[in-house]
């Protein structure tokens, strides 16, 4: 339940935003993080961004998730 995944912000509107989750677009709340802008990476949990992330760190996490997929695990 406490799983959170990196997401990239596409559009920011006050404390709401549209985020890209590796191709999936979801509406999220950004009320828990400092003001953000499109292109920023966040850690997303249950519709809420809970932390801002460095892009390189976010990409590395997705790389590990992708690696798990190719080695038979489910992300």
């Amino acid at each position: 339940m406490c799983l959170a995944v990196p997401a990239r912000l596409i559009d920011c509107r006050g404390t709401k935003a549209t985020a890209d989750l590796h191709g999936n677009r979801v509406e999220i709340s950004t009320m828990l993080i400092p003001p953000c802008k499109p292109g920023d990476w966040v850690l997303l949990h249950a519709g809420f961004a809970i932390q801002t992330l460095d892009e390189q760190e976010a990409q590395e996490t997705w790389a590990v998730i992708k690696d798990l997929r190719t080695t038979g695990g489910k992300p």
């Binding site: 339940m1 406490c2 979801v26 828990l32 850690l43 809970i50 998730i65």
Partner: protein, 374 residues
């Protein structure tokens, strides 16, 4: 507290495994570490980590799966709401199949109850706003990672002036559970693999008193196999050094102080309360209840539910499993009467539950049997 760079590459994983093995050889006695997060449980099993561990290092699963630690009484109240109170009950998918004293929310839904799975707590608020003549209740379950979302839902409902929205709060705090385990006489834990995403919210420094008071090493880690291996290597090295330290291996997301905005809305909406846990009993100030300013959003009051009681399946050992007193194979129901398809206990229902993890992955190589109570 020190922060360490996260190992992600294959080479670094191998190096962490080597460090773990070398440190394990220097141990003067077998050690048991405990993770207290369902996502750690699943990730460790999925990666086959247990089969790679040195024989004298064991990783136990603790009370970190929110579904698993929710008491039978709390589950019964959710079912009562869905079944008998004619409400729209919104829940995260994890809770749907958990069996209460009589049936599950999934069974209630099959019998006609209005049970909806939501991705976000705000989806439940939206549903209430769109259906002003229908009572909507959100099942607010989870640890500190999930609590801000419930607080935000209450604040949003209040802002919109909704009269038909409430929550059934069963939120729990991880630190009181860790304290209870360390004070328990029948479970020995030599260190904790601390939950990364809970720590994003509460901050790394919150674990420091565990280190100081109980002399128990704590290492905060992310959720991928390489991160867990690195954390176990550090925990083992700390034991060898005889040092109870706090280390943060998830420093790209976890700060010393945590997410202050999230902590602020939790504090605004909730206040600590004594709470009943499966396997641990009633722990002082271990859960959260709504503050009086938001009491009208409390489903227990609104629907006069009273105190939860609940009757557990006498054969189910989930309570022992989530406290490290037993492993799933010690339970007579495991993989016989209780399977993921027809689960009797929450640890088999939950996709983060220890029993389901064992059922799915332990056939590759059965992890070492843990001596209960040692």
């Amino acid at each position: 507290m020190s922060a360490v760079i996260l190992p992600h590459t294959e080479g670094q994983t191998a190096k962490s495994l080597r460090r773990l093995t070398i440190a394990a050889k220097a141990l003067s006695r077998p050690v048991k570490f405990m993770e207290v997060c369902g996502t750690h449980t699943m990730s460790a099993f999925r990666c086959g980590l247990h089969s790679l561990m040195p024989r004298n290092v064991t990783l136990l699963s603790g009370p970190g799966c929110p579904v698993c630690v929710t008491s039978q009484g709390d589950i019964d109240q959710l079912i009562e709401l869905a079944k008998d109170r004619d409400v729209t009950l919104c829940t995260y998918g994890d809770m749907l199949r958990v069996v209460g004293s009589e049936g599950s929310l999934e069974q209630c839904r099959a019998e006609g109850a209005d049970v909806r799975v939501v991705y976000s707590s705000l989806d439940a608020v939206k549903l209430a706003a769109e259906n002003p003549h229908r009572e909507v209740v959100f099942a607010a379950v989870g640890f500190e990672t999930t609590t801000p979302a419930s607080a935000a839902a209450v604040i949003e409902a209040n802002r919109l002036g909704l009269e038909n929205f409430s929550i059934l709060a069963s939120h729990k705090l991880i630190i009181p559970a860790m304290r209870a385990l360390l004070e328990s006489k029948d479970v020995r834990v030599d260190g904790f693999l601390c939950p990364g995403h809970v720590a994003v919210i509460i901050g790394a420094a919150v674990f420091q008193p565990i280190v100081e008071k109980y002399h128990s090493p704590c290492v905060i880690a992310g959720f991928e196999g390489p991160q867990i291996v690195a954390a176990l290597a550090r925990l083992t090295e700390l034991v060898v050094e005889g040092r109870a330290g706090l280390e943060n291996l998830y420093s790209q997301a976890v700060t010393e102080e945590g997410n202050l905005a999230a902590q602020a809305i939790i504090k605004e909406v909730f206040t600590p309360a004594d709470w009943q846990w499966r396997g641990l009993g009633k722990l002082k100030s271990s859960g959260l209840t709504l503050r009086s300013a938001y009491a009208k959003y409390d489903a227990r009051t609104r629907f006069n539910l009273g105190s939860p009681t609940g009757r557990e399946n006498p054969g189910c050992r989930c309570g022992d499993v989530i406290t490290g007193r037993a492993t799933p194979i010690d339970c007579k129901l495991f993989a016989t009467a209780c399977t993921p398809v027809r689960a009797l206990g929450p640890c088999m229902v939950s996709s983060e539950g220890t029993c389901q993890a064992w059922f799915k992955y332990h056939h590759v190589r059965t992890p070492k049997k843990v001596e209960a109570g040692s």
